[in-house]
Amino acid sequence: MDYLFTEEQKMIQDLCMQIAKEKIKPVAAHYDETGEFAWDIIKVLAESDICGIYIPEEYGGMGGGILELAIATEALSWGCGGISLGFAATGLGTFPIILFGNEEQKNKYLPDIASGKKLAAFALTEAEAGSDAGGIKTTARKEGDHYILNGTKQWITNGGEAEIYSVVAMTNKDKGPRGASAFIVEKGTPGLFFGKKENKMGIRSSSTREVIFTDCKIPKENLLGKEGLGFIVAMKTFDNSRPGVAAQALGIAQRALDEAVAYTHERRQFGQAISSFQGVQFMLADMATSIEASRGLIYSAARMIDSGAKNIAKVSAMCKLYASDVAMRVTTDAVQLFGGYGYMKEYPVEKLMRDAKITQIYEGTNQIQRGVIASALIKEGLA
C-alpha cells in the first residue's frame, strides 16, 4: 500500500531496510543465541544518521517525528526485534528530555543521542510497580543543590549499555502519584549500579537489567520539568512511544509473513509447493491482511501525534494493542506453516514468535492498553 511518504521518509525506510537486510539479519541468530548487546549494529545506525531521526534538528537530529521513528523501528525490527530495541528503547528514554527537558538539558544530552554516541533508557518499572506505576518505591530526596536517589528499578531495557537514564522516583510519598518526579541520571554517577542481565525468552540481544540507586547523588538541574510531574512525564512518554512498540511488533510480523511466503513457495509436499494448498493460502492471506491493517493504524496514529493532536492516549494504546496481538498471531502461524522446521532454531521463525511475545507485555500490558482505551471511550461518552 502507498502511505504517501515524503522523500525523506522513503529514504529512512530504504536505508533502515538495507541495514536490516545486510547488517542485522546475518547476525540476528548469533546475538539471539549469545544474548550479547549488538554494539556493532548501533555503530552502523550511528554512521547512517539513524539514531537522531526523531530528534529536532537544532539538537543535531534529523527533525523527524513519531512516524519517522515508527518507519525506522519497523524496518530494523524486520531484521531483529531484539537488536532494534537498542535504538527504540533509546527513543523511550529520550522522549522525557524532548518533551519536558529545558533548553540546557536538551543541549547537553540530545546531540550525543542524535549522533549515536550515547544510548538512553527509561527507568520506571519496579518489582512491585509494573502495570500499577503508583507502587513506585524508589525515592528522590532533595538535599541542598542535589537529589539523593534510593531504590531499585527492574527490567530496564538498555540498562547498563545506556549512558543516559530518565528515571521516575518519588519526591513526596504522601502525595501518591502526584508525588513522583522525573530525573536524568548519567551512567558513572556514584551510587548508580546495574544488576545482572536478565535471561529472556525473546528479544535476547537487548539488555534488560536492574538499575539500582544507592544514595545516588545527582545535581538538582537534572530534574525534568517540575517536582510532582513524574507520572505526567511517564504517561506522555508512553503516549509517544507506544507507536514505536507497535512498529517493532509490525516489523517482526512482516518478517514472519515474508519468511512464510518464501518457505511455503519452496517447500514441496505431495508433489507441489505447499503454497498451492488453499489451507495454507488462507492463512497467508489472513496474516497479510492483519499486518496491513496494523500498519495503517500505526502510521495514522503516528501522523496524528506528529500533527500535534492532544488526546492521543487512546489511539496510541490502540496501535500498540492491535499490532502486538497481530504479531503474536502471525508469528505463531508462521511457525505452524513451517511445520517441524518452524520449531527448530536453525530456521528463523521460532525466534520471531519468541520476540513477538514481549510486545504484548511491555510498555503497558495489552490488558492495560484495553483499560486505557476503555476509559477514553467512557470519558468521550460522558463529554
Binding site: M11, L15, E22, K23, V44, D49, I50, I53
Partner: protein
C-alpha cells in the same frame, strides 16, 4: 588528499538465470548495482580522505545515463563529487578504449593523489581497466591491494594479495590501486548522504568535452570484437548417492579413485 574512484554499474548477476526452456538469459527483475568490488574501492577512498583529514573523493563512471544511479549511491556513501562519462560514441568500448576514455577524464580533472578501482567487474571479470588506466596516465600501480598500511602525500606502503600470501609494496604517489574484498567492510549510505545524493548535480562529460581522439574510443578504439555470444550447455544433473554414511563414503571413494590417483 585528492582521491579518484572509478566504478562500473553492472547487472546484479545473482539474478541472471538461464531459462531452462529457451536456454536464454532470464532478465526479469535484474537490477543494476555498483560492481561489488568497486564498493570496496569507494569505501577505501572515503577512508583515505578521513585518514588524511582533508581532501575529496571524486567518483567517475563511464556508462549510459542510468549509471547516474550508481554515482548517486557512491555519493550517498560519502563521495564528494561524481562525474558521468556518457556518449553514444563510447558504445562498444572494450577495455582498451574504456581505460583510454577514463584516463582522459582523469587528465581533465587535473590534480589527484590516488586512483582506486575494484580489482575487476563482476560482469566482464577482466581486471584490465585499472592497469589500463594507470598505463595511459603513466603512473605506478599496485593491483590486488588488500591493505593500505601507510600513506602520505608522497608515498604509500600497501599489501598486494598474491596466490601464496601477500607482497608488501611501496609506491610513490600519485598511483593507482585496484582493491580486493579483504581491504575493508564497506559502510552503508547515511541519511544525510542520501539526501545529498538526491540533490547533487552530476556533470556528464562527452567524447567532445574530453577531447578524445575519435579513433581511440568506442568500437573504433577497441581492438577486440565480440564475434558471438552463446549460452553454455547447462551442466548435466549428476548422480545422487544414497545410503548410510559408511556405504555412500565407500561408493564415492570408489567412483573418485581414478581422479584422486591420477
Amino acid at each position: 588528499m585528492n582521491i579518484i574512484v572509478l566504478i562500473k554499474q553492472v547487472p546484479e548477476t545473482t539474478d541472471v538465470k538461464i531459462d531452462p526452456v529457451t536456454n536464454t538469459l532470464k532478465r526479469e527483475g535484474v537490477q543494476s548495482i555498483i560492481n561489488p568490488f568497486d564498493v570496496y574501492a569507494i569505501e577505501e577512498g572515503i577512508r583515505l580522505r578521513e585518514r588524511a583529514g582533508a581532501g575529496k573523493v571524486t567518483v567517475i563512471t563511464m556508462g549510459p545515463p542510468q549509471a547516474l544511479e550508481a554515482l548517486r549511491e557512491a555519493v550517498s556513501m560519502g563521495c564528494d563529487d561524481a562525474i558521468l562519462l556518457s556518449d553514444r560514441k563510447f558504445a562498444g568500448s572494450d577495455t582498451w578504449a574504456t581505460s583510454y576514455t577514463l584516463s582522459k577524464a582523469i587528465k581533465k580533472l587535473g590534480k589527484f593523489d590516488v586512483i582506486i578501482c575494484g580489482k575487476q567487474a563482476s560482469d566482464g571479470d577482466t581486471a584490465q581497466v585499472g592497469p589500463g588506466v594507470s598505463t595511459h596516465l603513466d603512473i605506478p600501480q599496485v593491483t590486488y591491494v588488500k591493505k593500505i598500511e601507510e600513506i602520505t602525500i608522497e608515498k604509500a606502503r600497501v599489501e598486494r594479495m598474491t596466490e601464496e600470501g601477500y607482497d608488501i609494496m611501496e609506491t610513490p604517489l600519485p598511483a593507482l590501486f585496484t582493491v580486493v574484498k579483504e581491504i575493508n567492510v564497506p559502510r552503508l549510505p547515511s541519511l544525510k548522504g542520501k539526501m545529498r545524493a538526491k540533490k547533487i548535480e552530476i556533470p556528464v562529460w562527452t567524447a567532445e568535452s574530453l577531447e578524445c581522439d575519435g579513433k581511440k574510443i568506442g568500437l573504433d578504439g577497441s581492438p577486440t570484437r565480440v564475434m558471438k555470444v552463446f549460452t553454455p550447455a547447462p551442466r548435466e544433473g549428476g548422480e545422487m548417492l544414497s545410503g548410510e554414511p559408511e556405504e555412500v563414503a565407500k561408493k564415492l571413494v570408489g567412483l573418485l579413485r581414478d581422479a584422486v590417483l591420477g
